[in-house]
């Protein structure tokens, strides 16, 4: 199977994922349009505008109170919740601290002389500033100037994956793995596997995650993803083994927010995938 066929075999994001991604945007627009709605209602029906405003405020108050209660309950009852909050905060801080300076500098450099390397630098800087949308045109241009620039294809794969274009990301990353399997210390292999996993192709994902583990070792995140793909392929023992590695005690070293998150998820997953001997004894 060549790269394009491979990519075509992958479905896009699942409907539920699309819905979850659309939810924050829908909430944002609901809040943004609220004053205009109040005003529009108030122009023709003043009484309803006042009632709508008051009921919105009351609902907001109740939602905030219950939200706080639910958050506290989740923090106590669901083990990954504190780790999830930590990882969300870490991502928010990283986004707030993202620096666009190098990206603007790289664009400025491109005005003097355009080369594939400079386009790659601009794309990489945009990704560093967490702006995958801005990175894509630069990386595509870099590849147009030098189709053999593997680093640009890898970065393009990451940018496309970030934007949810799973088929295209898998195509780019597959090309990188074909040419240079160890690119980015196995990063290309890992993210190609992730594309397949998100695209609902667990067998291919399991094979690639397994290869990544054999060749590069991996970390808690890659072991968690490997375990997930094994579980999706009904390999319970394999899933248990990988979840156990991801959930291993942390020792004295403090885990990063992301490692902590995957460890917490793996610990919960181990409840659903107990060791075979334990299951037998329990029966």
């Amino acid at each position: 199977m060549d790269t394009n066929e491979e990519a075509r075999a992958l479905p896009g994001a699942r409907p539920l994922q699309r819905l979850l991604r659309a939810l924050p945007r829908a909430l944002l627009w609901a809040v943004a349009c609220w004053p205009v709605v109040i005003l529009g209602v108030g122009m023709s029906r003043p009484l309803e505008a006042v009632a709508l405003h008051q009921s919105t405020m009351q609902t907001l108050g109740v939602a905030l109170r219950w939200g706080a209660i639910v958050v506290l309950a989740l923090a106590v009852l669901v083990p990954p919740f504190p780790a999830g909050i930590r990882v969300l905060l870490a991502r928010l801080v990283a986004r707030l601290r993202a620096d666009r300076g190098p990206f603007l500098h790289a664009i400025g450099e491109l005005r003097h002389l355009e080369t594939a390397a400079r386009q790659l630098e601009a794309g990489r800087a945009a990704l560093g500033a967490m702006d995958a949308r801005a990175a894509i045109p630069h990386l595509v241009r870099a590849l147009a100037l030098d189709p053999e620039l593997i680093a640009a294809r890898y970065q393009l794969g990451l940018a496309l994956l970030d934007r949810g274009a799973l088929r295209e990301a898998a195509g780019a990353l597959h090309h990188v793995v074909d040419r240079d399997p160890t690119h980015a210390f196995g990063g290309a292999l890992l993210w190609l596997a992730r594309c397949h996993q998100l695209g609902g192709n667990p067998h291919e994902a399991m094979a690639l995650f397994g290869r990544h583990e054999r060749e590069h070792g991996g970390n808690r995140r890659s072991h968690y993803w490997l375990a997930q793909s094994r579980a999706a392929c009904a390999d319970r023992a394999g899933a248990h083994a990988a979840f156990a590695i991801a959930a291993a005690p942390r020792g004295k070293q403090r885990l990063s927010a992301e490692e902590g998150w995957y460890r917490a998820l793996a610990r919960v997953a181990l409840w659903r995938f107990p060791a075979a001997t334990t299951r037998g004894a329990a029966r």
Binding site: R25, L28, W29, V31, A32, C33, W34, P35, V36, I38, L39, V41, G42, M43, P46, L47, A49, V50, A51, L52, H53, Q54, L96, R97, A98, D99, R100, G101, P102, L104, H105, I107, G108, R111, A134
Partner: protein, 282 residues
């Protein structure tokens, strides 16, 4: 003297705003102006702003409530204004000052009681801080580093300290500060572009922020959710049906009870009381 004029020529908007601060202070009372004077010169009060006097959302940002208020805001203006004006140009600077003033007036107008007057340039000054924050964030600051740069950290500290002062010191409208900060940030983020960057489609979050800001501005100018709007609308209404609707909306808005005022006589008494309190302030 020539040197001073040459310097002022480079920052005309900052100089004019500072001049307006001082002139208006002397036209009212530089030491302790009366509320009626401030209202007459353009203090922003929800009742008037919602009753067709939208210009007060700008005029309040040039008035001050006493010597200390005037000195502090003028000092802040001449400290941060010249650098920003030189960096982005006088037109953009003027636009950001006005955006900060309107943003501060809108948020304070919706947050505070409609009978409380608002004066002072601090909303607009926070708008300038918001603009500096946006520019540091967007363009990376001197020597790169974005919000992590020394500039970024100093700005964040300055904003945090001033907001804290606003929460601690009575009579300070932090709603105006927050509104000005957000308005200045959005205005600079959208309005000031780097020549190197390509023009891009507006990000959904920024577009939503613009729609929200425009909606809040319209709601400040026509506060259909507030009791003062309905009592004034009742007074202007020409038909009995219109008066009935505004009577019930007034009751609902002021006491969560449509029939707290049962008839037109009761509304007339409420209207007279409002007029009396406004006249008392004047």
């Amino acid at each position: 003297m020539n040197e001073l004029l040459r310097r002022l020529d480079a920052i005309p908007v900052t100089a004019l705003v500072a001049l307006a601060y001082v002139s208006l202070a002397f036209l009212t009372d530089p030491f302790e102006p009366a509320t009626e004077q401030l209202i007459a010169f353009g203090a922003a009060r929800g009742v008037e702003v919602g009753n067709g006097e939208g210009w007060r959302l700008i005029s309040y940002a040039f008035l001050h409530g006493g010597t200390l208020h005037l000195l502090f805001n003028t000092w802040a203006l001449v400290s941060i204004g010249p650098a920003l004006e030189r960096a982005i140009g006088s037109k953009s600077f003027a636009a950001i000052y006005l955006a900060g003033a309107v943003g501060g007036g809108v948020v304070a107008g919706l947050w505070n009681s409609p009978l409380v007057p608002l004066v002072g340039g601090s909303g607009a000054l926070f708008g300038m801080l918001g603009a500096m924050l946006a520019l540091t964030w967007k363009f990376g600051g001197h020597g790169g580093g974005g919000i992590r740069s020394q500039n970024g950290r100093q700005l964040l500290s300055m904003i945090a300290i001033n907001l804290l002062i606003g929460f601690v010191v009575p009579m300070v409208s932090n709603a105006a500060h927050i509104g000005g900060l957000l308005a200045g940030f959005v205005a600079a983020w959208l309005g000031v572009r780097d020549a190197r960057a390509e023009r891009r489609r507006l990000a959904p979050a920024m577009l939503a922020a613009l729609v929200f800001a425009a909606g809040l501005l319209l709601l400040t100018l026509h506060p259909v959710h507030r009791w003062d709007y309905h009592i004034l609308a009742w007074n202007r209404a020409k038909t009995a049906a219109e008066r009935e609707v505004h009577r019930r909306a007034f009751g609902l808005a002021i006491a969560d009870n449509e029939d707290i005022v049962r008839d037109d006589d009761g509304m007339q008494r409420e209207f007279d009381a409002l007029q009396k309190s406004l006249a008392f302030d004047r």
